[in-house]
Homo-oligomer: 116 residues x 2
DNA sequence: TCGCCTTATCGTCATTCAACGATATGATGT
DNA sequence: ACATCATATCGTTGAATGACGATAAGGCGA
């Protein structure tokens, strides 16, 4: 029950191998997936958030709000978009929420972009 | 002056080395650039167009319209978006227009996504 | 020159997006 | 139980997007 929670749960420091993605990188399905992911990244604020989460090994939570020149509600909206795209995951950690990158999904994005 | 133009001008079959991009893949500038590129890709039709152009070694023009279930004007709009993002280039080839991928820019996109 | 073919642009409409402040929700510590 | 802090959601507004048909623009061949 330590109060310095945050971390532990999220953002594995030593990344597990995680089974490789066998889904195709071409075809209508893949096109739609790439479009969805790209759209989620298609805003500077969301790119910044992704970088923030990638940079800090541990997943920060609302510190994101402090880093961006946007209202808290706006940041929350952007986080929602990223979450819905599966690029980010939020774990409730006491009174706050700890966000971290979903490495699987990020790899998928890279694979799809790489297939172009 | 052969009439089977299309190709020749566009889409070099043997890709020139092209000087590598020295611009940073991080920072506000890069974030904005990634967001811009991602946004351009953020629609299934545009992903399809990109694939089409990548797949065919030569750059096709209005055949794109035939490949997509969209009105000609809509496809033209999507091409405009891709063109404005620099992902695609259009060369006038007689009465038609030959589109092809801008490899430099596509590489840039890959580099930016890869930096995440 | 005239008409044809190809592509871009215009005008319109419905939808989505981005931003904000205000407010609800939910967990903590007192 | 309460006040508090952190986050999500709501409601609104203006701007951007996506789609289409109609129309303009530009080059070619007859």
């Amino acid at each position: 029950m330590s109060n310095r929670s945050r971390k532990d749960s999220c953002a594995p420091v030593t990344v597990a191998p995680e089974a490789p993605d066998h889904r195709p990188v071409e075809g209508d399905e893949a096109d739609a997936e790439l479009a969805e992911l790209a759209k989620a990244l298609g805003h500077p604020a969301r790119v910044q958030i992704m970088r923030l989460l990638v940079r800090r090994e541990a997943c920060i939570c609302g510190d994101i709000v402090d880093e961006l020149p946007l209202a808290q509600s706006t940041v929350s909206q952007h986080l929602k978009v990223l979450k819905e795209a599966g690029l980010v995951k939020g774990e409730i950690d006491g009174p706050r929420v700890c966000y971290c990158v979903e490495p699987r999904r990020l790899r998928r994005l890279k694979a799809l972009v790489g297939s172009l």
